[in-house]
Amino acid sequence: MIDPAWVSVLSAILFTIGLWGAFTRKNAIVVLMCLELILNAANLQFVAAAIQHGDASGWVYAIFAIAIAASEVAIGLAIFLAMYGQHETISLDDVNLLKH
């Protein structure tokens, strides 16, 4: 089987991509997807660690994390919808009424 270390590396890469994307992309939806990447990086890590330690709780965490991610997306989309209703855009740059 694969050495868990590689999984960690993969998740690290995913995390970096996610974080990078989170503040490079304008589109709120894309940012949301980047968030998902980060969360999934975490999930991978959990699972890999669970295998490594032979400890079940890791799986549980992963499942919970997925649930959290799901609800996060739901809420995010709802809020963005509301935002779109008011601002007619979902570009995070253009929504800057509140500043300074």
């Binding site: 974080l19 989170a22 503040f23 490079t24 992309r25 304008k26 940012v31 995070l92 740059d93 929504v95 800057n96 009424l97 509140l98 500043k99 300074h100």
Partner: protein, 751 residues
């Protein structure tokens, strides 16, 4: 003998404090009564707006003073400790113990006190009488005389307090009190800008001196841990003091005296002080307050006389004499060109005080160098020198007080005459206004002349006073002035530096003779120069009383001389009986031969030189320039008529044209008072005020500006910082990501 003089027990000394307290308490009473009853007819008529409240008070304190004087005169010293004023802890030199020190309150009486006390209380009383005549009959003073009398009595209490004080501290306290009253009274006519300016000038100039006086006192305290005369005059304590320190301290105190007695270079305030009502000029700026400085210097005698200080303090003695000499000549010179009656007297005051300073300087020098504690001859010299100075103080106070009152009388009558002439048609309350409107100068001698016949009493008083100041033989100041000149030269023979003051006082004698005669002649001799002068009459009540009294006092100085005034006034250890050991007649003879047939050739010549220039040359020149006979058909009193005749004759024969020198640069300079006032004003306005404004601006812009700048910059920074909150969520996330990076790095460093 030493400094320890026998102290005599007294019955009245417990009550001496009331001499000071009575007038002091009268001050608020008169002020408030005046405030309440202002304008009330009874108040004006029967209380003379407070004048008749002040008078009994002054009489009472005069009587008390006399009781005291009769006990102590020529007898010795007495002191009465009333209580502690301040008590405080003081860490001793070694820094190991904290001792208790006190400033006390009390009465101290010795020969100097006695004399000053008499002058003060006597003149206060007389001038009070004079003021009632002078102030209450002048409409300009209506409804504010209560202020005058209140401040008057306050001043009197200040003067008497200063004289009776038993420590330099209380001397200073009352000294300042007098300064305040002088300020208030000079500014009595507050609506006149010139008066306001003069008041400020007087207070400020004397204040400069006072600062040094305070410093001097402080230094003295640190030398003796006390300021009480009883302590600081103690030979044994003086012996433990470093002479250099002591001389410094006394020098500082002397600067204070210079300010108060209007000596060069702090003399500028006295002429302007004549803005005040004439009684004020008479009392404060001629007879009493200006003597405070002399009194202070006279008080220093025990330090100079102490054996341990032998020869240590001569420099200070010289400085005192030199300042006196310079001022004597300078003031006399300026007096030459003054046309304002009171200004002439003011400068003459300045000059005569300078004489006394010179005399004191000489006396102190003698006391400091001769070993007079053991040698009786030396003792005699010192005593006479010191006594001569004090005697001149006495004579001058009496004469000058009288002169000012006489001049006041002249001015007053001039006013009335002028007033009656110009307003005979309407009599009403409009006095007030016209008094300011018309520009007739009632004080200028240019408007007078030939008053001898119209104002006999005044003229006589003026004559005697002038004679006393000039030192005409046998009259008033003659004795003391001769003494001063003689002693100045006596010292000069020992210490060449003293030639300066000695020469000054000698020349000064001639100058005095000139300007005093000039004044009298311009005022009383010759034809009236204006028709106002032609219509003057002498009819104001109250005024003659003090004039006559003082005339006799001045004339009687020959008797005082016979009483060995100089001895019991100058004898520091008391014990020289009032009527002298010799008795009246012997004393007189002694004085005469002492003065006129001095065995010492030098002093024999000196005496006659002085008499010659003072009594012949000076007056002769004056007569030649200003003499003149009265209007035809008018005759002065028999004792004046010859003088007038003489003057006119001299004028006729020796008269010469002095316009050349009258227009010379020197005389302009003198008219400008040698530019001192100009320079001082310039210094005040340009330097001090300029610097003050600059520093005010600095405080506002730089000191406060820094704070303001910090504030505004922080606001700017705040704006910049808030700019970072761009409003774009992406930037927020980026910042967070950076934060992650930073945290990561920091933690990595931690390990």
């Amino acid at each position: 003998m030493g400094g320890t003089s026998e102290t005599i027990s007294s019955t009245f000394i417990e009550y001496a404090i009331f001499i000071v307290l009575l007038p002091m308490l009268a001050f608020p009473i008169i002020l408030f009564l005046g405030h309440i009853f202002n304008g009330n007819q009874t108040w004006i008529k029967s209380a003379k707006e407070g004048g008749l409240i002040a008078l009994p008070i002054m009489v009472a304190s005069f009587i008390l003073s006399m009781l005291l004087i009769t006990e102590f005169i020529g007898a010795g010293t007495g002191s009465h400790h009333i209580g502690n004023w301040l008590s405080f802890g003081w860490i001793s030199e070694d820094g190991m113990t904290i001792n208790e020190k006190v400033f006390g309150v009390g009465i101290y009486i010795d020969h100097v006190t006695v004399m000053l006390l008499f002058i003060a209380s006597f003149l206060c009383m007389l001038i009070n009488i004079f003021s009632i005549g002078y102030m209450n009959t002048d409409p300009v003073n209506d409804n504010r005389n209560h202020r005058f009398y209140a401040e008057f009595v306050l001043f009197c209490s200040g003067m008497l307090g200063m004289v009776l004080a038993d420590s330099f501290l209380w001397l200073f306290i009352f000294w300042e009190l007098m300064g305040l009253c002088s300020y208030l009274l000079i500014g009595f006519y507050y609506e006149k800008p010139s008066a306001a300016y003069a008041a400020k000038k007087a207070f400020l100039t004397t204040r400069v001196g006072d600062v040094f006086l305070v410093i001097g006192l402080v230094m003295l305290w640190n030398l003796f841990d006390s300021l009480d005369y009883a302590v600081v005059f103690n030979e044994d304590l003086i012996a433990q003091v470093d002479p250099g320190q002591l001389q410094l301290a006394l020098g500082m105190m002397f600067i204070g005296a210079v300010g108060k007695s209007a000596q060069f270079p702090l003399h500028v305030w006295l002429p302007d002080a004549m803005e005040g009502p004439t009684p004020v000029s008479a009392l404060i700026h001629a007879a009493t307050m200006v003597n405070a400085g002399l009194y202070l210097v006279a008080r220093m005698f025990p330090f100079f006389g102490a054996e341990s200080m032998h020869g240590e303090l001569v420099d200070l003695a010289f400085i005192i004499a030199a300042i006196g000499g310079i001022t004597a000549v300078m003031a006399a010179a300026i007096a030459f060109v003054q046309d304002d009656l009171k200004k002439v007297l003011a400068y003459s005051t300045m000059s005569q005080l300078a004489y006394i300073f010179t005399g004191l300087g000489a006396a102190l020098w003698l006391a400091n160098t001769l070993d007079w504690h053991t040698d009786d001859k030396a003792h005699g010299i010192v005593v006479v020198a010191f006594g001569a100075a004090l005697f001149h103080l006495f004579n001058h106070a009496m004469a000058k007080g009288m002169l000012f009152m006489a001049s006041g009388s002249v001015i007053h009558e001039m006013h009335h005459a002028h007033h009656d002439m110009h307003h005979h048609d309407d009599h009403g309350d409009d006095h007030h206004d016209d008094h300011h409107d018309d520009h007739f100068d009632a004080q200028s001698m240019e408007n007078m002349g030939g008053l001898a016949s119209k104002m006999p009493i005044t003229a006589t008083a003026m004559l005697v006073g002038s004679a006393s100041i000039m030192g005409l033989p046998l009259i008033g100041g003659f004795w003391s002035k001769e003494g001063i000149i003689a002693n100045a030269w006596r010292v000069a023979l020992e210490d060449p530096r003293f030639f300066l003051p000695a020469a000054c006082v000698l020349i000064g004698a001639a100058m005095t003779g000139f300007y005093m005669s000039r004044m009298w002649l311009k005022t009383f001799a010759g034809k009236p120069k204006t028709e106002v002068a032609a219509n003057v009459h002498e009819h104001t009540p109250w005024i003659p009383i003090p004039l006559v009294t003082l005339t006799f006092v001045s004339l009687s100085s020959v008797i005082l001389a016979g009483m060995m005034f100089t001895h019991w006034a100058g004898e520091p250890n008391g014990g020289y009986a009032f009527f002298g050991e010799k008795g009246m007649l012997k004393g007189l003879i002694y004085e005469f031969e002492h003065v006129f047939v001095n065995p010492d050739a030098f002093f024999f010549v000196l005496t006659y030189v002085a008499i010659f220039i003072g009594a012949i040359v000076g007056p002769g020149l004056a007569m030649a320039l200003y003499g003149g006979s009265l209007k035809d058909g008018e005759k002065a009193k028999p004792w004046m008529q010859p003088i007038i005749n003489l003057s006119s004759r001299v004028n006729a024969k020796r008269g010469f044209d002095n316009s050349a020198w009258a227009n010379s640069g020197l005389s302009n300079a003198l008219k400008e008072r040698l530019y001192f006032d100009k320079w001082y004003d310039a210094a005040m306005l340009k330097l001090v005020a300029g610097f003050a404004n600059i520093s005010a601006a600095f405080d506002r812009n730089v000191v406060d500006g820094t704070i303001k700048t910090i504030e505004s910059t922080s606001q700017k920074i705040s704006t910049q910082v808030r700019r970072l909150t761009t409003g774009s969520a992406r930037d927020y996330i980026m910042m967070a990501a950076l934060g992650v990076l930073v945290i990561y790095l920091l933690l990595e460093v931690m390990i």
